[in-house]
Amino acid sequence: MASGADFIQRAKGEIEEIQPSQANEELSADNTVVVDVREQHEFEERHIPGAVHVPRGHLESRIEQFVPDKSKRVLVYCASGNRSALAAKTLTDELDYTDVASVAGGITLWKDRGYETVVPRSLTQEQKERYSRHILIPEIGLEGQLKLLDAKVLLLGAGGLGSPTALYLAAAGVGTLGLVDDDVVDASNLQRQVIHNIERIGVAKTESARIAIEALNPDVKVVEHRVRFGPENVIELLSDYDVIVDGADNFPTRYLLNDASVRLGKPVVSASILAFDGQISTFIPHDGPCYRCLYPTPPPPELAPSCGAAGVLGVLPGIMGLFQANEVIKLVTGQGEPLKGRLLLFEALRTEFTELKVKRDPECPICGPGAAELADGELGKFPDYEAFCSGAPVAVA
């Protein structure tokens, strides 16, 4: 009876075996596919650049997904050249691949000979566990989770909307969360601003939020911007981030953010709340409408009660803030359909949704054809800002 070693030896005699040098020469050819047949953990540790991963145990069931064209040149490798020899034999004899070779000595010899390898990014064991429910969803998966960990999201406001958004984005593993807020935690905030707590009354909201986020997920880097968002800092604040979440409490800030984000090409997830009603939309510069396409002119104070004191149902910012977090996750992972060109209205008392279409305004001063000529200093300007919102900071120079 033949031993396992004999069996492998015989297989090697029946297939094409090539040296690492030859494999390296063939690597860049268009017709070549490199297949790593080792186990998951071996592939994750290090592999040949561009290799597709099909563990030998799944070879028969998965190879056609990765190499549908059986006439392709297929270079198979493993750790030392044994498993790949058997895999090459299977591919040739059983699966009708016509041009298969096994790399002698596997990745061990390949590396010893000085050829290039890559160490792929992966998650730590702790991260795999923490994000396992994301990784199980094909639309997110490992790739989406890595995108979330790389993402930099700026939240305007660490209050009603910012609290739930920040908490859930932190839990989801968004790697960098910037928080812009110059306020401190007040007892009246706690009815809805769930990221803060009794012990942190009087503490800066950015700091209070950072403490809560760090206790929830150490993967998240929190950047505190304890400033009032204004024309003097808007470009600098937005520059480092991929997505902006607007939870501002006044019109000058909303227009200023819009104008600057269009200029910088940053998507903005914008929501607002009042009493029992919420609105949300996602503005993607030049791809969809902007905030000014939707609202060309700010309303006067009597139609904009946010300028004064107005109440809000505590759960409402929770609902709308999580819609914002959902938009952010879709934008970061590139999955699904964002609320682009759509304004979603939510009425809490009736539990009713209304969706309205928002079109690009061809004459929009900010995202229309004339916008390029607008100087940076003109962004966010309205001649009558002071008149309509005396309680809010004025964004006019």
Binding site: L156, G157, A158, G159, G160, L161, G162, D181, D183, D246, G247, A248, D249, N250, F251, T253, R254, A271, S272, I273, L274, A275, F276, D277, Q279, L294, Y295, P296, T297, P298, P299, P300, E302, L303, A304, P305, S306, C307, A310, V312, P317, L343, L345, E347, R350, T354, E355, L356, K357, V358, K359
Partner: protein, 92 residues
């Protein structure tokens, strides 16, 4: 009859009514019907010249009347006219 959805900021002027139905042939008539029934809404919808205020967005069902025929856009039974106010709240 078309129905108007009244935003919260105007409900003080409609006696708390969130929806008002008005007999009308176009969007402009719908709004004027609302003003007739609830005169307090006039100043917030129309300027001194009787034109719609620039900051008021009006939708017929889910479409902005700016991309339709504006106030001349005709309405049918069962249509909904949405008065959309900009809201700024969030952080507070």
């Amino acid at each position: 009859m078309p129905t108007i959805k009244v935003p919260p900021v105007l409900r003080a002027q409609t006696g708390g009514e969130a929806e008002v139905s008005v007999e009308a042939a176009n969007v402009g008539e719908v709004l004027r019907g609302l003003v007739e029934a609830h005169p307090g809404t006039e100043r917030q919808l129309f300027d001194g010249e009787g034109a719609l205020n620039r900051y008021v967005n009006i939708y017929l069902n889910d479409e902005d009347v700016r991309v339709l025929d504006g106030l001349e856009t005709s309405v049918s039974d069962g249509d909904t006219v949405v008065i959309l106010p900009a809201m700024a709240g969030g952080r507070y």
